[in-house]
Symmetry: C2
Subunit: 188 residues, 2 copies
């Protein structure tokens, strides 16, 4: 299960609560894995039961107390073991692509606004990634030289940026295609 491993990596980078993990899954970890708070809380409890994590109750003033999780030695070992095992190269799952092929059996032009909406969402994400990249890795405020962990975080972020750029370019291709089909239909 990659969620367990993603949690181990995130907690090794910095210990934190389920809530904090959920927030990280919306941001930095989010560009390669997603999870909701419900799932995170459940997996945290299991991992703690398995001895992979240690918990510490942290009392807070003017905020609810929280449980701070840290990676225990067996957790570190489990991550190491996984890193040395091969994982299957991933295939994509893209609902919008299903829709695009499905549009052949409906009105292709009706899909244009949906594709535009997706294009905007990816464009927003790209901007967020680029802002984060300047802040943490390439801007004047960024530490220099970067340590090993930061270099690796940066190369993963570059992957996220490349993915969003590719997706935006492809969605433009899709929009051109859909417009072309409407024009042809109504007689060039």
């Amino acid at each position: 299960m990659a969620l367990e491993h993603a949690i181990l990596v995130s907690l090794l980078e910095k210990p934190g609560s389920g809530y904090e993990l959920a927030r990280r899954f919306e941001r930095s970890i989010g560009y390669f894995w997603t999870a909701t708070h419900q799932q995170i809380y459940r997996v945290l409890r299991r991992m703690e039961g398995d001895g992979l994590l240690a918990v510490r109750e942290v009392p807070q003033q003017s905020r609810p107390d929280k449980k701070e999780y840290t990676v225990a030695t067996p957790g570190r070992r489990a991550l190491s073991a996984w890193l040395h095992e091969p994982v299957e190269p991933e295939s994509i799952r893209h609902e919008l692509a299903v829709k695009i092929r499905g549009a052949a059996f409906d009105d292709p032009a009706a899909l244009i606004s949906e594709v535009e909406r997706h294009r905007k969402a990816h464009d927003d994400r790209l901007r967020r990634y680029l802002t984060g990249e300047r802040r943490d890795f390439t801007g004047p405020e960024a530490p220099r030289p970067l340590d090993v962990g930061q270099e690796l975080q940066h190369v993963v972020l570059r992957g996220g940026i490349a993915f969003e750029r590719m997706t935006i370019a492809w969605l433009d291709d899709v929009l051109d295609t859909l417009h072309g089909l409407s024009a042809a239909r109504s007689g060039t």
Copy 2:
């Protein structure tokens, strides 16, 4: 559930058995959705029970008989309805990226062979896609002009090609980074 919709699209393109669908999910549909035969058989039965699909027993000689599924009118309507609803822009899930960030807590150089293996898998997939593109859409054997369904299939395939190319370029970036880290560690 996108698997249902992917099945509807595939069966509209061409009716077929569960086995045939499973094979398509390894090929053409595979570049935007995956499913195993076990899952497909289960969903097919449910969809038939819901009246979305019609079945026909097809006797065959020198092969086991098969059940050929066709999309029924309610199935067509369900697909139409879904096409007009918005779906959430997808986030990626990439186990290898989890590993790359995890490598900071282990030996980054140990990941090189794993990344190379993934690079090769994506390169193989790209070659298959390009062969399919020439055969079905751009080669001299391809029909011309393409109909609406073929244009849409082609733009989705171009998405798969763009994804594989982007991934390969990114994995090269990852390999450079990993090599750079090893060189720096052993003292430049």
